[in-house]
Every structure is written in structure tokens, then in C-alpha cells.
């Protein structure tokens, strides 16, 4: 297929070619002899699990990181990309997963910062208008960035690249922050950009997207190229095998047992965010029953952090009755008191919040599981702690040097398995989990999801907050959506689908159905 592109553009050589790129960090070889060829006008996927080396490779191309060995050829000539500024001079643009925009500046000001020369703001605004019309990227040049949605911010980043003489656009996991509908619109834009001759490097681990968008795929596994393929012809399971080295495992998810007692009830929680750019919560209502998993979908930054802090007790609410836990008003209780009532919580930040990097796994077990007879008369019981940590490592298949290994020596996936294990082993009455498998390899993700389902089967009320819709549909019995600090009603997972939840994620959902915990919330929600 790449020959077609070469012929169409009249160029014989690849636009970008990498030969034998190597890069190692103290503990890990991120890239080990990687070859890559990208033709003009080609949308080329770089596919791999988290930790496979995709991000390092892109940083090398964009001049952020220097390779230890290997060659970069640009239009057939060897070059050394000295810095991102140099990369932009060459015509390489990159949209990072985490945006690099100044929140307190306007769109035009942010764009003007990277343009060569010193163009006036009016001129920049006009050029933004032209580009956004041509590619269907609606954005107001005068708006301040902090007032923009995530999708709009991404558009600003793309426009910023397109305003230069762009020959190659690198997109790093662009859809992780988008609703399915917004992702579809992004694909339209990318196809149009590519059809004008610009090459696109598309980084992702989502197989469906790559099948829908890309002309060619290079698959990375553990820092090496494990294969290249034509995603239009290759099956998703074939690509999955290249990516993880075996077949994609599946969760075993039996039907929910039925109506258990309501363990976690949130009734009209409104809370102003502590962060000036955070999201205020407004009239959140939800019920999680024993023996079910409630999922909350939503694009990050829509109030998830604030909701989690209020649920975990890291932030107390004014009115105690707003949150009740196993029949007790818990709104004003701190995190330790809520744990004593039977709540366990797994936040999305592992290092430094759910675990302490420089402490051993034994000491990290103590962090939340001290109620498991680990403390007697104020003194630590080393044998009980060690035994707990060892069981957690064995039962949850945590790959590590042993219970004395420091948390920072574990990979993200293994540490997450340890943390999930630590909370699950306490047999909580209520478990609140945020992004349970974020940044976790596929095999570990399945085992983490399975342990959530097993816990539900044992009668725990589980609340999962995730950006990953596939994950939510895999584990949840009911799904609700959070948008702009408001929560939709929950729908049975079997009665809804990705498209409907996707629409809800942009803040549009129908009026609530009257129910026990949301009887007085009959307004329809129109969030932007």
C-alpha cells in the first residue's frame, strides 16, 4: 500500500525513515533497534501496549529525547533532530496526550507563541479562522483556553500544527480524551489532512480505531518491532497477537445476582472544586447496591476527581447526610473513619497516593490494610504484614522480587494488581475504583477486571469510574455518565450501547426517571 502513496505523490523515498533506533533508561530498554518507514500522505499507526516504547519513539522523532544509537532519515537524508523547535522547522508537528497550552492565555495567544516571527494577534486569529473552516475544526480564537473543553483544546493543538508548513503530524493517543462521536469527527479531519500529502503518525493501542483510520501499522512489543501489517486486511485479533504476543483474554461476567441492599448512597451532593480550573459538583445522586457494579463514564476533568475525593473522605462534605455508607451518614467522616465502615478506595494515581514508591510492599500493605490484625497495642506485627503481602503477591499474580521489593521497582500493571489485591483482600462492603486498568498491560487488565467482578459476586457494592468505555461495558451492571460536574441516571449496561453513552458524555441526556434515590431530580440537563 505504501507504494501507492509513493507513486501518487511522485516521491520515491519515504518522508521519514528510522533505522535501528535504540534508547535505554537506567532500568529499562525503551527502544531496541526500531525501524519505521512513513510515506507521504500515509496515516501510519504505531501500535503497542503501554510501556512498549511508543512514546519514547515519538519523542525521539520530535527531538525531545536523543537516541543512543540509530539513524533518522528525513526525505532520505540523515538528520539529527536537535529540539522540538528544530522538528517544527522541519515541518513535524506533535499533539501530545497531555496538552501543552497555557490555560490563562487565549487561543490566538497560545498559537502565536509557536509561530515564527512575531505575527499580530489579529493576523493569527484570521489564520486560525481560515484553517478551522477548511478542516472543520470549530474554535473561537479569542476564547481563553481554560474555558475550552478537552476536545476544543485538542483542536487548538492540531490547528497550531496546521498553521505551519506541516509535513508530518504525530498524534499521541488522541482519542483517550474524546467521546466516540468526537473521535469520529477527528478521524474526518485527519483523513483530510493526510489527503493533502501530510503524513500522520498515529499512536494508539485501540485496535478498532486503527482499523478504521490507518493505512499501515507498525506494532511494537517490549521496545522492539514485532511486526507490520495492513490494518484494513489484518483482523483485530491478529493485531492483538502481534501486540501482546498471544490471544486477547476475556472476562467471565455472569448476570448480577439481583437487588441487594443499598450500600453507598449519594443524595444531592454539590461541592465547589478546590482547584481553580477544577469542576464543581452539582446535585450528584447515585446508589450502589450490594452485588452490583455501577460504572461512571465520562471524559476526564468533568468532576471525577472531585467526586472521588468526596466519596473517599479525603474531602469532607458540609452536610453529613449527603453521603451514606452502609446505612450511616458519612459525609463528614474522614478517610480513616470511612474505611472502618467498610469502604475501600483505589485511586488512579498509584505511585505517591495508593502506594509509597520508596517503601516495601510489606509497608505498602500496611498503608490501608492495617485493620487486618497488623497492629496490636500500637505495635506492628511484622509476621502478619509479611504474610498478607505474600498472599497478595501470590493470589493476584504480582510480578516482583518479593514482599521486600520497593513499590517503585514494580511496573505500573504489577503495582496496580498489588493495590487491587490489597483492597480486595480486605473484603470491603463498598469498593470505589478509579481508572482500574489505566496504563496497565492487557493481560493484567483482564485479571484486575475479573477480580472486581469476583468481588461483586461475593456481595460487595462496586463503583467504577473510568474513561474507557470498553472496560465499563465489560464489567458494569449499570452505567451512568458524568459531564460538567453533573451525573446522569444510570442505565443497565445491557440496555444501552457505546453510541448512547457517547452522546451522554457530551452532557446531553434525557430527563431523569423518578426512582428511590433520585426522586426530586426531574430536570433535564444541558451541559456544554
Amino acid at each position: 500500500m505504501s507504494d501507492v502513496f509513493a507513486a501518487a505523490s511522485g516521491e520515491k523515498s519515504a518522508r521519514l525513515e528510522l533505522r535501528g533506533i535504540c534508547k535505554s533508561y537506567p532500568a529499562v530498554v525503551a527502544n531496541d533497534g526500531i525501524d519505521l518507514r512513513v510515506m507521504p500522505g500515509e496515516i501510519h499507526a504505531v501500535l503497542g501496549e503501554n510501556g512498549a516504547g511508543k512514546s519514547t519513539l515519538m519523542k525521539i522523532i520530535y527531538g525531545v529525547v536523543k537516541p543512543d544509537a540509530g539513524e533518522i532519515l528525513w526525505h532520505g537524508a540523515p538528520i539529527d533532530v536537535a529540539s522540538p523547535a528544530h522538528a517544527r522547522e522541519l515541518g513535524i508537528g506533535m499533539v501530545f496526550q497531555h496538552f501543552s497550552l497555557f490555560e490563562t492565555l487565549s487561543v490566538a495567544e497560545n498559537v502565536a507563541l509557536v509561530l515564527p516571527g512575531k505575527p499580530g494577534l489579529d493576523e493569527v486569529a484570521e489564520r486560525i479562522g481560515t484553517v478551522s473552516e477548511r478542516y472543520g475544526l470549530a474554535v473561537d480564537p479569542r476564547a481563553l483556553v481554560h474555558s475550552l473543553s478537552i476536545g476544543e483544546r485538542q483542536r487548538v493543538e492540531i490547528i497550531r500544527c496546521l498553521l505551519q508548513d506541516l509535513q508530518m503530524l504525530i498524534m499521541d493517543e488522541p482519542t483517550s480524551v474524546l467521546t466516540p462521536q468526537a473521535a469520529a469527527r477527528l478521524f474526518e479531519t485527519l483523513r483530510q489532512v493526510a489527503s493533502e500529502g501530510c503524513s500522520i503518525l498515529y499512536i494508539s493501542h485501540k485496535l478498532d480505531e486503527i482499523k478504521a483510520l490507518c493505512h499501515r501499522a507498525t506494532v511494537l512489543r517490549a521496545g522492539k518491532v514485532s511486526g507490520t501489517c495492513d490494518p484494513q486486511r489484518e483482523t483485530t485479533s491478529g493485531m492483538a497477537r502481534l501486540m501482546i504476543g498471544r490471544d486477547l483474554p476475556k472476562c467471565n461476567h455472569p448476570e448480577a445476582a439481583g437487588d441487594g441492599e443499598a450500600r453507598l448512597i449519594v443524595d444531592g451532593l454539590s461541592l465547589a472544586s478546590e482547584n481553580p480550573f477544577g469542576t464543581d459538583l452539582s446535585e450528584i445522586r447515585l446508589v450502589v447496591r450490594s452485588g452490583e457494579i455501577l460504572g461512571i463514564a465520562g471524559i476526564s476533568g468533568n468532576g471525577q476527581q472531585e467526586l472521588l475525593a468526596a466519596l473517599s473522605g479525603e474531602r469532607a462534605t458540609q452536610d453529613a447526610g449527603v453521603i451514606s455508607l452502609c446505612g450511616r451518614a458519612a459525609g463528614r467522616l474522614g478517610a480513616a473513619a470511612r474505611r472502618r465502615l467498610g469502604l475501600c478506595f483505589i485511586p488512579e494515581e498509584r505511585q505517591g497516593r495508593a502506594a509509597i514508591p520508596s517503601m516495601s510492599l510489606i509497608d505498602n500493605a500496611l498503608l490501608t490494610a492495617h485493620g487486618q490484625r497488623m497492629v496490636a497495642a500500637g505495635m506492628l506485627r511484622a509476621d502478619v504484614m509479611r504474610d498478607f503481602a505474600r498472599r497478595c503477591i501470590d493470589d493476584f499474580d504480582v510480578k516482583c522480587a518479593g514482599p521486600d521489593a520497593e513499590a517503585k521497582s514494580l511496573s505500573g500493571g504489577n503495582l496496580q494488581k498489588f493495590i487491587v489485591g490489597r483492597e480486595v483482600m480486605q473484603q470491603p462492603k463498598v469498593l470505589v475504583v478509579s481508572q482500574p486498568t489505566w496504563g496497565v498491560d492487557v493481560g493484567s487488565a483482564v485479571s484486575i477486571r475479573q477480580s472486581l467482578i469476583d468481588l461483586r459476586n461475593a456481595g460487595t457494592a462496586v463503583l467504577v469510574i473510568s474513561e474507557d468505555l470498553e472496560e465499563l461495558f465489560e464489567v458494569c451492571d449499570r452505567i451512568a455518565v458524568i459531564a460538567n460536574g453533573r451525573l446522569s441516571q444510570a442505565k443497565r449496561a445491557t440496555e444501552t450501547d457505546v453510541e448512547e453513552i457517547g452522546v451522554w458524555m457530551s452532557g446531553l441526556w434525557p430527563a431523569r426517571v423518578a426512582g428511590p434515590a433520585n426522586a426530586h431530580a426531574d430536570e433535564s440537563v444541558h451541559a456544554t
Binding site: 537506567p26 532500568a27 536523543k66 537516541p67 543512543d68 544509537a69 540509530g70 539513524e71 533518522i72 540523515p78 538528520i79 539529527d80 533532530v81 536537535a82 528544530h86 522547522e89 473517599s312 473522605g313 479525603e314 474522614g334 478517610a335 480513616a336 473513619a337 470511612r338 474505611r339 478506595f345 485511586p347 494515581e349 505517591g352 497516593r353 495508593a354 502506594a355 509509597i356 520508596s358 517503601m359 509497608d363 500496611l366 498503608l367 490501608t368 492495617h370 497492629v375 500500637g378 505495635m379 506492628l380 521497582s409
Partner: protein, 363 residues
């Protein structure tokens, strides 16, 4: 070419224990060069520094006498430092502890009590804690920086003791010298080894070492304070109170410093003076860190620091070494100790222009 420090993925356990030995060897090498350059016999200088101070029973007793308050205070401070509570005012807490003990010792109402010394110990600890409670309160209530508050209170404590020994507590038989009356024998720690100044206050230090070790390594409360120090997000997640940790950290340092103050006035001094401590409260900060905030390490660090001080004096007297040279030698040892520590945790990487980087791009 560029030098860069990179964190080591794995720290060598053997090197962790060997690093003080390596540091000591390097100090000797540097000292050899230093003393030779000054025209002194290096071996004689080493002898004056390390052997002469402790080749008599009296010398050993002085070594322990000086090390005792350093170790005691350092252990108290380590509790706070492990949870990132920076009590820099131990010197002032020591002074107030000494004042409180002095008040008990000089009060005629307690003169005949069999519990006089015990009362002084309690008063000293309470006094030190009270002085440390001020920065703790201001930190937890108004988020005032405890470094500044505790440090500034040191000067307040100094002025307070000045006021007392120049004013109301001045010895009527003291020919106007600014000092309190001598304490009665019952208000002094008993001497442990005859004809030396080593007294029973070192037993307080030994108890503190044991209690500190159990608290820091074996108790749940000690674990909680460590978690708060390592990551406040993790502490909030686990529900460990940051305020309580501030109080524990400050009060532990204050109590230890107050006890050290009692050890001074009820030990070698025997009365209150304007200068109660030759800077023990500040030196103990160094001792705490050289001892890696671990009670056992602190014991060794305290003995080393004590030896360096005695050795510095001895070298000045017997060799005619300038005071600056003695300080330089002491500083070098600390430098090498901390430097070796850095290299246990980090490695130096030399970054040379590689084959890729050499091919520069011309636009």
C-alpha cells in the same frame, strides 16, 4: 562532555554500609595532604585528632558526655525530620528545658523532696515541649513555617535565660557574675565514673535511643509519621492526620532537647549560665542526618561528632594547628560522608557526543 547524576535502579546494600568507611578513608587522605601542606606531621596530627582525646578514661568519659546531648536531641529531631517537620529550634527548646529544670532546682519548696531530680527531668521535658508547641500550633492553625518560628524562638529563649541570670535568679554570692546559685547535690545527676564528669544523664540518652528505635521502626504511629513525610497524598488517601504528625514531630524534638538541657544544668554546669549549650541544638541537626535519621546511626554519628570536637581542641593545643584547619578537617569528613551517600543512591553518567549527535544539521 557532560556529567549527570542518575538515580540508581538498585542500590547496593554492601555499598550502603561501606560508604562511611570509604568516606573516612577519603578524609584521611585529604587530611594527610592538608596537614603535610601546613608543614605538620600528618601522623602526629591524626594521633592528636583521633587517639589523644580518648586514650584515657577521662577522655572516653568526655567523649560520651559530649555525645550524649547530641544523640538525645538528634533522635527527637529525627522523629520530626522523617515526617518533613523541620524543627530547627532545638537549641531554644534545650534552653527553656534548662530554665524549667533550674526553676525546680532553685525553688526552696522542692529542696527536700526525694523526687527533686525526677521533678527536674519532667520539668525540663515539659519546658522543651512547651517551646516546641508554639511553632506546632502556629503551623497547624495558621500554616506558619515551623523552620522560621522555631529558629526565632531560639533567640527568645536566649534572651529569657539572660534576663533570669542577670536579674531575678542571679546568685547573691556571685560577685555580680551573671549566673544562678549552684544547684544542691540532690539536684545533680550522680557521677557514673569517679573522677570524671560522666553522669547518669547518659542513661536518659540510652533510654531515648531505645524508645526512638521502637517508635520509628516498630510502632504504627511511627509508620504513620513516616508516610506523612514521604507523601502527603498517600497520607490523605490512607486517612493519616497531618496535623497530628506535626504535633508529634515537634513535641518529640522539644522533649528531647529539653531533657538535654536538664542534662547540662544538672550535670557538668550545675547552675544556670547565659550560655547553657555550645550549640548542641544545631549540631544535633547534622548528627541526625549523618546518622540517616536512624537511632542506631545517630549514636555513631553523635560519637563521631563528639570525637571531632575533642580532636579539634586537642590538635589546636598540642600541634598548634589553626582553628580553621581543624574545622576544615571536620567539614571534609561530613562532605565525604554525604557525598558517598549521594553516590550510593545516584550514579554519575558521562554524556559524550554520540555518533548521532555529531552529525549536526544545517538548515
Amino acid at each position: 562532555m557532560q556529567l549527570r547524576l542518575e538515580p540508581r535502579a538498585l542500590q547496593s546494600r554492601a555499598m550502603r554500609y561501606a560508604s562511611p568507611v570509604i568516606a573516612a578513608a577519603l578524609t584521611l587522605v585529604m587530611g594527610f595532604i592538608l596537614f603535610a601542606a601546613l608543614g605538620k606531621n600528618p601522623l602526629a596530627a591524626f594521633h592528636a585528632f583521633f587517639i589523644a582525646p580518648i586514650n584515657s578514661i577521662n577522655g572516653v568519659a568526655e567523649l560520651f558526655l559530649k555525645a550524649s546531648p547530641l544523640v538525645l536531641i538528634a533522635i527527637g529531631l529525627a522523629v520530626g525530620f522523617r515526617s518533613n517537620i523541620w524543627n530547627i529550634g532545638a537549641e531554644g527548646q534545650l534552653t527553656v528545658g534548662a530554665i524549667a529544670a533550674g526553676w525546680v532546682a532553685l525553688n526552696p519548696a522542692f529542696a527536700d523532696s526525694p523526687l527533686l531530680l525526677a521533678g527536674m527531668i519532667v520539668a525540663g521535658a515539659v519546658g522543651g515541649m512547651a517551646w516546641a508547641a508554639v511553632p506546632a500550633f502556629l503551623r497547624t492553625r495558621f500554616n506558619a513555617n515551623e523552620i522560621l518560628v522555631s529558629l526565632m524562638l531560639t533567640y527568645v529563649a536566649q534572651l529569657l535565660v539572660n534576663y533570669l541570670v542577670f536579674g531575678p535568679w542571679r546568685d547573691p554570692q556571685g560577685f555580680n557574675t551573671p549566673q544562678s546559685p549552684l544547684f544542691a547535690d540532690a539536684a545533680l545527676f550522680p557521677i557514673l565514673i569517679e573522677n570524671t564528669r560522666l553522669n547518669a544523664s547518659v542513661l536518659l540518652t540510652l533510654v531515648a535511643v531505645a524508645v526512638g528505635w521502637v517508635f520509628l521502626n516498630k510502632s504504627f504511629l511511627g509508620y504513620k509519621t513516616r508516610v506523612v513525610g514521604l507523601s502527603s497524598a498517600a497520607a490523605r488517601y490512607a486517612g493519616f492526620s497531618e496535623k497530628r504528625t506535626v504535633w508529634i514531630g515537634m513535641l518529640a524534638g522539644g522533649a528531647a532537647a529539653g531533657l538535654a538541657g536538664v542534662g547540662e544544668v544538672a550535670g557538668p554546669l550545675g547552675q544556670l549560665f547565659p550560655t547553657i549549650s555550645p550549640g548542641y541544638g544545631f549540631t544535633a541537626i547534622i548528627v541526625a542526618f549523618v546518622g540517616r535519621l536512624d537511632p542506631v546511626g545517630i549514636v555513631f554519628a553523635g560519637l563521631l561528632m563528639s570525637l571531632l570536637y575533642l580532636g579539634g581542641d586537642s590538635a589546636q593545643i598540642s600541634m598548634g594547628l589553626p582553628a580553621a584547619a581543624a574545622s576544615l578537617f571536620q567539614g571534609a569528613l561530613l562532605f565525604f560522608l554525604l557525598g558517598a551517600d549521594v553516590l550510593v543512591n545516584y550514579r554519575v553518567r558521562v554524556i559524550r557526543a554520540g555518533p548521532v549527535a555529531r552529525r549536526s544539521f544545517s538548515a
